[in-house]
């Protein structure tokens, strides 16, 4: 269908409901609608429920984006970013909007640039998803500098920036969001007071007893809480200096965050003549009083209820997507049950459904332990869970939530639900849950998707499942269920033969592959694809093959640069923003004033963004443009430190006998000899070495891939397979020798053996652990296989073949565009100055 013939869907509001609706529609039918969206905020869609994590600094803003702007373009959606829809002209069937001023608050009543031309979007169907705005209780002085609301990413960043210069902050509102804001401010290092107008905190979710205990817990964190505190006036001339309460009390404060509830944004519906009460009135298909216009999310009112959490939204948008696309034209939404988790570090709190008995016969189960701030309560009706509070201990929250949502009968021993079974067996086996049962209510992730992430996506931890599916990344209360699913399904995964292939695209194990390469004399990556993979190139296999070929044919290897990772094409490490880092080699960590001066000159000349001492005893020049690399290398006149590739990296050293009063062996001279000999030698993974002048081990030689430690009697111990990165492992002692030359021999022998026998990307700590030190000693020291002489000769050949890539390629680039940045093309319509 051409775009012209498609039905036109206009979505007003690009928040959690609006964007999710569009995703659901596309999932059902990617081609049915030409979609236009109006989004008042200047972003794509982000996860609003994680804003408190951005406020407290635990998440970066880019980590909470769900649909970044390119997503819209990629799905052919026209998104009017920073544009507010003003009304729906139902006679002409167009939605009319205007851009907001750059500095306007997206949820303000106005803020449009009225001089700008209106933006019109013709429609066949409209979905309103305008969400809500913070409610500001009547008080004088709101709006002066230092007063904030807490709804958007911008709000969050403004609060965090302002808090940097404040000592005291006050939060108005002791509900879920107010407490999250307070905790976030505390993390920013300000003194925080929470003012709540009612006699208790979180009145919507807690009974009085739980609320009192929560107050004590919050106060223990260092947040002051004042109840029945009604603010009447905000004090201060140019900026906030304090607030005045109804009883006349004055509280000094440098900033004020108002989080006293929300109100649905309904003016667009009202101005378009739709029925509006508290929210936009909708039927069971989320249709407004105009059957072509729907509403979802916090702006909608369904069966008299306006929701303020995301879980109901997922159900609403599914219904609307079913109806709109015709997949289930008679789908209905019947309302949602509410589960709330307080995401405040240091407080565990989950609340479900009703918290006080309403009907005769409601069974109440309560456990209280005030000294630890633990309170657990359950309401059971007709053997089903209708409400619960878990405060202080929430291990069983996942199970309780499932029972509550799915209305499964509760176990006879109610205590199991609050504490887990005495035997440790799960109260509710996730195994028995249906595939569609929603595990993560924050992100709407069903069991089936998590199972798939584990079985197909090979996720092996709760965090990996989160990265894959978003499950568990909201309030976090479902993490225990995800862990259970991992236990159940990770074991079940059938083994995939390709796990034993050296690279995924060539169906051979490493020994088979080496044999085939040698037999057919394959010298290049493309020759391997041609001869051993039926001519099918595989991007994932290229770098691994290149590494292997280079070690099989040190001299005759045909180096195809496209098979290398970018770092190995330009001999520098790529950074998060696409620039590169430059780490020159500093043998054994010993430098000189002249060398330092040269580094300093280069750093200034090329305006290097940061100069940093690395953990490997050398100097890193960070944030360098690709185009500048060759000139920088030339000016430095130092060899590459290979801080970017799978190869010998460094050999660190302590000061040793030259200066240290404990030194037993010349660790510096040894480190320098090692580094001169093995610099840049490629391997299955990186090799980081160290030498220490005595067992005090100041250079951490016990925990390097290879380490040499001087001991009494003029001897050196050689350690293999140590690690102190993501894995920590002390190396295994291979042997003890007398001279530097012997150290070099054994190290070289091991390096060659590792090059030949390790899997691609297998660090020495796994390799040594896999083979066992006894076996390595038998091969490398006792020469049981009779290969030592060959290993020594091969590593010697590799050393002889080594060329410093910086010196060679700065003078003779491999291709004219090896170091080219983006090329500027002047097209006839090119924009100015780009």
């Amino acid at each position: 269908m051409s775009p012209r013939q498609r039905e036109r869907l206009v979505v007003i509001g690009n928040g959690m409901a609006g964007a999710r609706l569009v995703e659901e529609v596309l999932q059902r039918d990617a081609h049915r609608f030409a979609i236009t969206m109006f989004g008042a905020e200047p972003y794509g869609n982000y996860n609003r429920i994680l804003l408190s994590h951005v406020l407290n600094g635990s998440h970066r803003r880019e980590e909470i984006f769900l649909n970044p702007l390119p997503w819209y373009a990629a799905h052919g959606i026209t998104l009017h970013v920073g544009v507010k829809a003003l009304y729906i002209d139902r006679a002409r069937r167009v939605v009319v909007g205007k851009p907001l001023h750059r500095s306007a608050v997206p949820y303000a009543l106005d803020g449009c640039d009225h001089a700008a031309a209106p933006i019109e979007a013709p429609y066949d169907r409209v979905v309103i998803a305008t969400g809500s705005r913070p409610f500001v209780p009547p008080m004088d002085g709101m709006g002066k500098p230092g007063t904030f609301l807490f709804r958007t990413l911008d709000d969050c960043e403004h609060i965090a920036a302002y808090a940097k210069h404040c000592r005291k902050a006050t939060v108005i509102g002791g509900g879920l969001l107010g407490l999250e804001a307070a905790r976030g401010l505390l993390a920013l290092g300000v003194e925080v007071t929470v003012l709540e107008a009612l006699p208790q905190l979180m009145a919507a979710q807690l009974d009085a007893e739980a609320a009192a205990m929560l107050k004590a817990t919050i106060e223990r964190l260092g947040i002051r809480v004042l109840l029945q505190a009604v603010t009447t006036r905000i004090l201060g001339e140019e900026r906030v200096t304090g607030v005045q309460l109804q009883d006349g009390m004055i509280l000094e404060t440098d900033m004020l965050v108002v989080s006293a509830g929300i109100r649905p944004i309904v003016e667009i519906a009202r101005d378009s003549g739709l029925a509006v009460e508290r929210g936009i009135v909708c039927d069971d298909q989320m249709r407004t009083s105009d059957p072509d216009i729907f509403a979802v999310g916090e702006c909608a009112q369904h069966r008299g209820v306006v929701y303020g959490l995301v879980d109901p939204i997922w159900d609403q948008v599914k219904t609307v997507a079913d109806v709109l696309t015709g997949v289930k034209p008679d789908a209905v939404y019947r309302g949602s049950k509410l589960a709330t988790t307080l995401k405040v570090l240091g407080v565990e709190l989950v609340s479900l459904g009703t918290t006080t008995p309403v009907q005769a016969g409601d069974e109440v189960v309560v456990y209280r332990e005030p000294s630890r701030g633990v309170y657990k309560k359950m309401l059971v009706r007709d053997n089903k869970l209708v409400g619960a509070i878990l405060l202080g201990e929430t291990e069983t929250a996942g199970v309780l939530t499932q029972m509550f949502m799915l209305e499964t009968p509760v176990p006879a021993r109610r205590a199991d639900l609050l504490f887990g079974t005495a035997s440790g067996a799960p109260v509710l086996s996730v195994f028995d849950l249906p595939e569609h049962a929603q595990i993560c209510n924050c992100n709407g992730v069903p069991k089936g998707r998590i199972k798939e992430a584990i079985q197909v996506g090979k996720c092996r931890s709760v965090a990996q499942v989160g990265a894959h599916t978003k499950a568990g990344t909201g309030c976090g209360s479902c993490k225990s269920l995800i862990a259970q699913l991992l236990e159940v399904y990770a074991g079940e995964v059938t083994e995939d033969p390709s796990e034993h292939y050296y690279v995924p695209g060539v169906p051979l194990t490493k020994p088979q592959l080496i044999a085939a390469i040698k037999e057919k004399k394959l010298k290049s990556v493309s020759a391997v694809f041609r001869e051993l993979a039926g001519g099918k190139e595989d991007a994932d296999s290229k770098a691994g093959l290149a590494s292997l070929l280079k070690s099989i044919w040190p001299q005759e290897y045909e180096d195809e640069r496209d098979a290398r990772f970018i770092n190995d094409r330009v001999h520098a490490n790529i950074q998060r923003d696409g620039t590169f880092s430059v780490v020159p080699r500093i043998y054994g960590g010993v430098t000189s004033p002249a060398e330092l001066r040269r580094i300093a000159d280069v750093a200034e000349k090329y305006q290097v963004r940061m100069v940093k001492i690395t953990g490997g005893q050398r100097i890193d020049l960070l944030g360098v443009k690709k185009e500048d690399l060759p000139a920088i290398w030339r000016d430095l006149g130092m060899p590459s430190g290979h801080a970017y590739t799978k190869a010998f990296r460094t050999c660190k050293s302590c000061v040793g006998t030259d200066f240290c009063r404990y030194g037993l062996g010349d660790s510096i001279a040894l480190a320098q000899k090692i580094e001169r000999r093995f610099q840049g030698i490629e391997a299955p993974h990186k090799l980081k070495l160290a030498t220490a002048g005595c067992p005090r081990n100041c250079s951490e030689a016990y925990v390097k891939d290879l380490g040499a430690v001087a001991i009494e009697g003029g001897q050196w111990e050689i350690y293999l397979g140590g690690a102190a990165g993501s894995t920590v492992r002390k190396g295994d002692l291979l042997c003890t020798v007398k001279t530097h030359e012997e150290v070099l021999t054994y190290m070289g022998r091991f390096i060659q053996y590792y090059r030949e026998n390790a899997k691609y990307m297998e660090r020495s700590y796994s390799f040594v652990a896999r083979l066992g030190i006894e076996r390595l000693r038998a091969v490398l020291v006792e020469d049981r296989e009779g290969i030592c002489a060959r290993l020594d000769a091969e590593i010697e050949a590799a050393v002889a073949a080594y060329r410093d890539p910086w010196a060679t390629e700065a003078a003779h680039p491999i291709s004219a565009s090896q170091f080219a940045g983006p090329v500027q093309i002047d097209s006839t319509r090119a924009e100015e100055g780009m």
Partner: protein, 121 residues
């Protein structure tokens, strides 16, 4: 989780989403891109990546990875797939679809005219 650098948005012209007319731009000689690699071009306010596969196929996509803005032209290419150099998200070059994530790259028709790369924007 996925976000391009703001400067990249502006460069890619994603702020205004009016559908522009298609037009062709000559990016210069094919030789500029070594076989099997990609290079980036700034053209008409956006940055695109052009890939020259070893089998001769040419592809053009936006250069900015939808995950965190990685420069895709610096990725490894092969079998109709590019791997982002930052966190290894993979994209099908024919469709722009990300393999394993529900996002996609914008792709552009591209062909060779007298030894020069011509892309349709």
């Amino acid at each position: 989780m996925r976000q391009c650098l703001p400067s990249e948005f502006e460069r890619n012209g994603l702020w205004d989403n009016g559908a522009p007319e298609r037009h062709e731009v000559d990016l210069g000689p094919l030789d500029f891109i070594p076989p099997g690699e990609g290079r980036a071009y700034r053209v008409a306010g956006r940055t695109i990546a052009v890939f020259r596969q070893r089998d001769g196929c040419l592809f053009a996509t936006d250069n900015c990875c939808p995950h965190r803005g990685g420069p895709l032209a610096d990725g490894i290419v092969g079998g109709g797939v590019v791997i982002c150099p930052l966190h290894a998200w993979k994209f099908d070059l024919h469709t722009g679809r990300c393999i394993g994530e529900d996002v996609a790259l914008r792709t552009y028709p591209v062909r060779l005219v007298n030894g020069c790369i011509v892309v349709e924007l």
